[in-house]
Symmetry: C2
Subunit: 224 residues, 2 copies
DNA sequence: ACCTGAACACCGTTCAAGT
DNA sequence: ACCTGAACACCGTTCAAGT
């Protein structure tokens, strides 16, 4: 596709979205992060290679290693770039606030499906801590007892995590959907209960997410 | 380590655990699956290579491809092998039953941490459907309305999924733990709420799992 | 039907240099 | 301080054969 041997080195990357201002150095952690995100969005988790990344940035492969320890570090960088939280800061209705935080969380991750696969295996970056902090504050404001707060936070975390990871993986690919469609006849007899309820045919992901979240919040809400 | 060039071909694999009975063919889907599981247990997700798998089985690399489409298929095989559910079939206390199903689910996955990373990106194998079916039956038996059953199942699924994936990844490696320990001083000032509650210091994973699950089940339980 | 080695088109990263 | 190409030690998989 692109010219291979030609002297495109030192040139600016084009079309990959992360354009540098003319006076900026070609290689910075920020530009590396931004380009990695673009590449992950475009080609998925396995689509990111150091070689490809370098080419998109118009540099030699090994130049990256001056700015970045290794490929893992690139993943970390990309993940934290994507997870930045800018949300309203005013607290009002604690339950509504929590729903907002979690729906926003899920939405950002689904905008970059690779992030869902990535997050669980990385350490907690600052941008995730911000979100957890927010959650914690909401729960306390809602009157959840101190002893319950941690369990509540983790259960909410688990819930978004699970929902997002699931949705991100066999959500969009309809090959799976068709496969389950076909299997549905035998399903009804082999697994009567989930066959009857049409569990695998439900494609209202957003609605189901919201309804399950309500279950969880019902359980978390302080009893009176 | 092992002799490289020596004629070990056609010999049985030793020490890898998946010993063949002498009259059995060297390569079967079952032996491939079992050996893959052993290898994944021992060396993690990235530790499984077709070349290594073949060597452990005492065959040439390409011989595997007669029994198996590609590496993805090996993952599928290994995952489904591990997820087999043998649990009591008698229904009694619906809530206790659900807790049992989920704790067993989580426990089996944590016994093979790679499975937690793998499951979300694969289609639902038969052994997972068995567990979902079980869940569905429990919920109905518990009086959960038909309209709520699907949302309830998915929320439970999300919960185990998230909890297991999280625990499997930054659970056992204590490098992360130490890192967060160090960051705790600044944490208190940057993130007062989660600093105060010691969210990141909580290491009672089992207890937290159980308590969060109770929140969820409280919300799911039919109101009266 | 089942197994094989050689070869291809990739990887991430080390190293010894260049400016 | 920043960038580089060549080389190393791997990958998964195609292909044309062997029995």
């Amino acid at each position: 596709m692109a010219d291979k041997a030609g002297g495109r080195r030192g040139r600016r990357a084009q079309g990959q979205g992360a354009e540098a201002r003319p006076d900026e150095p070609i290689l910075t952690r920020e530009r590396i992060a931004a380009t990695a995100v673009d590449m992950l969005d475009a080609k998925g988790l396995d689509g990111l290679t150091m070689r490809g990344l370098a080419e998109a940035l118009g540099s030699g492969v090994m130049s990256l290693y001056w700015h970045v320890e290794n490929k893992e570090a690139v993943f970390d960088l990309a993940l934290d770039t994507v997870l930045e939280y800018r949300g309203p800061t005013a607290l009002q209705d604690w339950r509504g606030d929590i729903v907002h935080v979690l729906e926003d969380w899920r939405a950002t991750m689904l905008r970059h499906p690779w992030s869902a696969l990535l997050l669980p295996r990385r350490a907690l970056g600052p941008n995730i801590l911000v979100r957890l902090e927010r959650l914690s504050a909401c729960l306390s404001a809602g009157g959840v007892a101190d002893v319950d707060v941690n369990a509540a936070i983790w259960s909410l975390w688990n819930y978004v995590m699970g929902a997002t990871v699931t949705r991100a993986s066999f959500g969009p690919s309809d090959a799976d959907r068709e496969a389950s469609q076909e299997r549905l006849a035998e399903l009804g007899t082999l697994y009567p209960s989930i066959g009857r309820s049409g569990l695998l045919l439900d494609d209202d992901w957003d609605g189901t997410f919201r309804r399950g979240l309500d279950f969880l919040l019902d359980g978390i809400a302080p009893k009176r």
